[in-house]
Each structure stands twice: as structure tokens, then as C-alpha cells.
Amino acid sequence: MARADHVLVVDDDRDIRDLVKRYLEKNGVRASVAANGRQMRSLLDAADVDLVVLDLMLPGEDGITLCRDLRADGKQSPPILMLTARNEEADRILGLEMGADDYLSKPFAPRELLARIRAILRRARALPANLRIAPESHRWLRFGEWTLDTTARHLLDANDTLVSLSGAEYRLLRVFLDHPQRVLTRDQLLNLTQGRDAEAFDRSVDLLVSRLRRRLRDEAQEPKYIKTVRSEGYVFCSPVAVETR
């Protein structure tokens, strides 16, 4: 990599933003800090920022508003990692709907923050820019008889019965749904699905695909949704409809 990743930390607590900056720099990530939305905008204009760590609870313009504005700007805005005060479902849903790429609740483990930052950046770079989909507020993804709730992270079948997914299954399915009708190699899938517990996740992609097929009640011999492309990888072969509400 030619240059170090540049992360902008927006938090009103001076100790926290300075400590996060020092921690990130100690781990080889370049970091800048901003105390509010005004400082954030001037830094975004001045420097090339790869990712914004945004606190939800800010005085004046709060994180939700800033997040929405960044997304609404239209120009290529960097990915956003939202810091929420509590692990509140409402905050989480709001943050994700406003276009945050991921969220982390306070108090967070610094290592977890670093892992998430790296996962988001890896995800953003795993695919060429034209394949990358902008994270936007699509709450429901429909395909075949299934609906994926992307905030609650579970499936709904034709009878509206909730079908749970494990973390790895959700990430894999999400990658497929974000890139339907594209052949994805095992390496790409592995890169894209390695999420927050990257070090723990070492199962083969094949095993995970067969697990996901079972969850989708898909036949391995004649799959309706995830087809195997010999010596290349997998392709999600059902059309996906986005629904916002």
C-alpha cells in the first residue's frame, strides 16, 4: 500500500478523540480529529479521508444529521463507522438507515474499533469501484420467496416467519445480494465476509455456502439461489429487489 489509511475521528470528548488518534497511529493508521460537524467538513475538504468514525451524540449537529448530509452530498463520500452510546436497537437502525456502513457501541474495545475500520476498508477495496454499491437505506432486500431485513439481520420466509442467520451467514448472504448475477471468487467472498471476528472466522467458504443454502431451503444439486461456477466461485442467480420503508 502506497500510503497509510487516513481516518477522521469525530467526537466531542477531547480525551477520547485524542486517545483514539494515538491508538490508531500506534497501529499504523493515520488519524485526524474533529470536535464537531464544522471541523469535520473543513477537514474532509482539505484532506483525502478514507473513513470517518462518527459519534452519534454530538452537541449541535448530531451524528445522524452529519451522516445523512454526507450521504446526500452526492459526491464520493468516505465510508462511515458510527459510534453509538448504547447498544440501542433504535440508534443502530437509525444510524444504518442514514447510511453508516457499520456501527460500534460505547464502550468499545480499541482492538474491535481497529478491526472494524480495517474490515470496512477491506470491503471497500475488495471490488472495483464500479462494482461497489453505495451503502444506502435499503432496509429490506427481496429475492424469490425470501426477504432479508438488513437492520435486524434475519430472513423472513413467504409466511412472514422469522428465520435467523448466524453472523457469517448474514455477511455472506449480504455480499451475494449486493452483487447479484456476478460470479464471485472464493477469495473475494472470503475477503468480503471477514467481518468483526475476522480472526475467529476461518471456515471454508464452501462450508458456509452449503450452510446458507440449507438455511434458504435450497437444493445443493439444483440450487435456486446460489449456483456453483466450476473452478471460479459462486453466483447469486435470483433477481434482488430493494425496498425502503
Partner: protein, 432 residues
């Protein structure tokens, strides 16, 4: 006492029934007594005159013609025969006395009238002038009871039952409503106020209940506010401390500080979760594929490198709060992992029985005496006093609160093969 007779309804009906039967019986007895007195004396006088006539007729008839006449003289209540009178005595009753007196008045001094009797009843004996014995068998007067009388009594009883039912319902419906409201408040935390209308006593009780419920809700939400505020305000300093510690040079002090901070953070999180779990009703109920839920949980554990697996089972769909149920299972699995290592999850479902989730481990189990008390918040087993394995002591308490909030039962037992079995018994599906 059987279950039915313990109900207020049964008791009120029983009291009213006894009262009705006693009152009716007494009235019936009084009326009958009155009637038998009036009718009885009239009938006996009439019968005495009739018998005197018959005796006079028999006196006049030649002895050979008398048997042919006897059937014509018979009446419903007395019959004549020319057989000798039995010599046995008959019990002395008001009736026999009255009959004897009336007959003597009508027949003496011409005839000596005696009262005798046998199994057939009282018999009056006398001798005709020529010495022929005449016996009159008496049938005691029977008061005819009309058919409609018991029918009327039955109709009265039916009306009584209907009114008793109505009255008792009037009295017990508010009680049932109160019980349902208290139940809903206790188990599901719903604090809908009771309507304060109806009779004065009922309205008063409802108002008192509502006031009590309001006070409890206020106290509970204040407790929640305090817990929330404390843990929220602890979050920022903990975050700062974690960052500072991470910036220290690696070493044993840093690791120990990190583990202390980790313990503090879990206590804050679990404390908040416990406060929430006591009345977790925010989440809506929905149909959930139980097998997928348990499979995804066991896969998450397996992906994280823990020895957790789901035993093969049939599928089942239940209507419940999925996040609450997930948290219950996760807490039980965490508990099993802490003590037991190798953990199995089992879904037991089938027609005619409520779906049950079992979390099995192969650890040392729990002493029988403590199987219930481990659900108390901050209860720790002797064997887990040290903090490395002890956790916060809130995991099982949270699980129990959440189980109650979804109407499920939760229990622990030691397995005969060693290890602990935790059971979640879900409420039976109403309609599937």
C-alpha cells in the same frame, strides 16, 4: 373439596339452593298440614255417616244376600268384609283415634266398635245384630300431590340458578378482571389501567389497584433511569481507560488492567440488561423458525471456536419475541460453556406438547439445593467464587426474567449421566 366447589359461584349457588329447598319444604309442610286438618275431619265425619248407613243396610239384608252387596258399599278409602276382625292391635295414631271416635258416635250404642289392625293397615271391627262379624279395612287418607308441583319446584330451581349465575358473575367478573390485570402486570409487565367504573366497591378496588400499579411503574422506571444513568456515565470513563491501557507498553500489568476493565464493562452492560429484562415488552411477537434460531446460535459459537452443537431435531415454529428468546438461549449456553465445556443444544418438539429447548453440558453440575437459587441476581456458586469463571452473576437472572416475559418456563436439573440440563419450556402454540 373438589376444584369446582371451591369457586365463589358454586358456593353462592349452594347457599341459595339450600335456602330455597328449606323455604319451599317448610311452606309445603305448612300447607299440607293445614289441608289435612281441614279435609281430614270433614272426610272422617262423612265416612262415619256412610259406614253407619252401610251397617244399617247390612242389618236389613238377609244373611245370604250380604256378600253380593259388599262391593257396592266399598269406597276408595275403606272396604267391607264379613271375615272376622284380626285380634292384633294397630298403632294408635291421630287418624285411628279420630276414625274410632267418629264411628262410635255414629254406631253406639247399637254396635261395639273396636280398632284393630294387621299388615294391611288399621281395621275396624263390629258385630251385626245376628252375630256376623263385619270388618272394615281402612286405607289412610292419602293427600294427592298434583304433578305440576315438583315441576314448579324444578322451574323455580332453574330460575334460581340463572339468577345466581347472573349475580355471581356480577360479583366475580371484576375480580377476574383484577386477577388478569395483576397477572399481566406481574408476568408481562403490561401496565394498562383497569377501568374504574361499575359498582362503588368495584370502582374503589380498581382505583386502588391502578394507584398501586402506577407507584410500582414509577419506582421501576426510576430504578431503570438510575441504572441507565450510572452505566451510561461509566461508559465514557471506561472507554478512555481502555484506550489509555491499550497505549501502555505490553506487559502483565496491562493485561491485568484490561481484564479488570473488561469485567467492569460486562457488569455495566449486564446491569443495564438486567434492568431492562425485568420488563422487556418493547419487542413485538412474531412467528419464529425455532430450528433456524438455534442453528444460527450454535453456528455463531462454532465459528468463534466454542464447542457448541445443535442435535438433529424436527422443525418447529413458535410465536414469540425472537431477541428475548435468543438472549435466553445465549445466556444458558454461556453458563454451560463456563462450567461444562462441551455444550449440546436440543430442540424437543412434537404434536401435543409445548416446544422445549434443552441446553446440555458435561460439567460438574450444581448441588441440588442450589438449582433454584442460581437464578437469583448476583448468586454465585461456591465453586465459581473467583471472577475468572464467575461472570457477573446476572446471566441466569436475566434469562429467567426474559423467560417470564415471553411466558416460558426455565429450569435447571442435573443429568443422570453427569452435567447440567437447562430447559426452556415455551408456551404451547394456540394455533399452528
Amino acid at each position: 373439596m373438589s376444584g369446582w366447589s371451591r369457586t365463589l359461584f358454586a358456593r353462592v349457588v349452594l347457599i341459595l339452593l339450600v335456602w330455597l329447598i328449606a323455604a319451599q319444604g317448610l311452606a309445603y309442610w305448612v300447607v299440607m298440614q293445614e289441608r289435612s286438618l281441614a279435609v281430614g275431619s270433614m272426610m272422617i265425619d262423612y265416612a262415619a255417616k256412610d259406614i253407619a248407613g252401610a251397617v244399617a243396610l247390612l242389618e236389613r239384608l238377609p244373611a245370604g244376600e250380604r256378600p253380593a252387596w259388599l262391593p257396592k258399599l266399598d269406597r276408595a278409602n275403606y272396604r267391607y268384609s264379613l271375615a272376622p276382625t284380626p285380634s292384633t292391635a294397630t298403632p294408635d295414631t291421630a287418624f285411628t283415634r279420630a276414625v274410632l271416635a267418629a264411628l262410635r258416635a255414629a254406631l253406639e250404642p247399637m254396635h261395639d266398635v273396636v280398632m284393630r289392625g294387621n299388615d294391611a293397615g288399621p281395621q275396624v271391627g263390629l258385630q251385626l245384630q245376628d252375630g256376623t262379624p263385619l270388618t272394615i279395612a281402612l286405607a289412610p287418607p292419602r293427600m294427592r300431590v298434583s304433578v305440576w308441583l315438583p315441576l314448579a319446584l324444578l322451574v323455580q330451581l332453574a330460575i334460581l340458578l340463572a339468577f345466581a349465575w347472573f349475580a355471581v358473575r356480577l360479583a366475580t367478573r371484576p375480580l377476574a378482571r383484577l386477577a388478569a390485570a395483576a397477572d399481566a402486570f406481574g408476568s408481562r409487565g403490561s401496565a394498562a389501567p383497569l377501568p374504574e367504573n361499575g359498582p362503588t366497591e368495584v370502582a374503589h378496588t380498581a382505583a386502588a389497584f391502578n394507584a398501586m400499579q402506577r407507584r410500582i411503574v414509577e419506582q421501576m422506571s426510576e430504578r431503570l433511569r438510575i441504572l441507565g444513568a450510572v452505566s451510561h456515565d461509566l461508559q465514557t470513563p471506561i472507554t478512555r481507560m481502555r484506550l489509555r491501557v491499550e497505549l501502555l507498553d505490553a506487559g502483565s500489568v496491562r493485561e491485568r488492567l484490561l481484564s479488570d476493565l473488561h469485567a467492569m464493562q460486562s457488569l455495566v452492560e449486564e446491569g443495564l440488561a438486567y434492568a431492562h429484562s425485568a420488563h422487556a415488552v418493547e419487542e413485538g411477537e412474531r412467528a419464529v423458525d425455532l430450528h433456524a434460531l438455534l442453528d444460527s446460535i450454535s453456528c455463531d459459537y462454532a465459528d468463534a471456536g466454542s464447542q457448541v452443537r445443535l442435535n438433529p431435531s424436527v422443525g418447529a415454529t413458535v410465536v414469540t419475541r425472537p431477541n428475548a428468546l435468543r438472549r435466553i438461549v445465549v445466556n444458558l449456553v454461556d453458563n454451560a460453556l463456563k462450567f461444562g465445556g462441551d455444550v449440546e443444544i436440543e430442540l424437543r418438539a412434537g404434536p401435543g406438547r409445548p416446544p422445549t429447548i434443552a441446553v446440555l453440558d458435561r460439567g460438574p453440575g450444581i448441588p441440588e439445593a442450589e438449582l433454584e437459587s442460581v437464578f437469583e441476581p448476583f448468586h454465585r456458586l461456591e465453586s465459581s467464587r473467583n471472577r475468572d469463571t464467575g461472570g457477573t452473576g446476572l446471566g441466569l437472572a436475566i434469562a429467567r426474567n426474559l423467560a417470564h416475559s415471553i411466558g416460558a418456563g426455565i429450569s435447571l436439573s442435573n443429568r443422570s449421566s453427569g452435567g447440567l440440563e437447562a430447559l426452556i419450556t415455551l408456551p404451547p402454540a394456540e394455533a399452528s
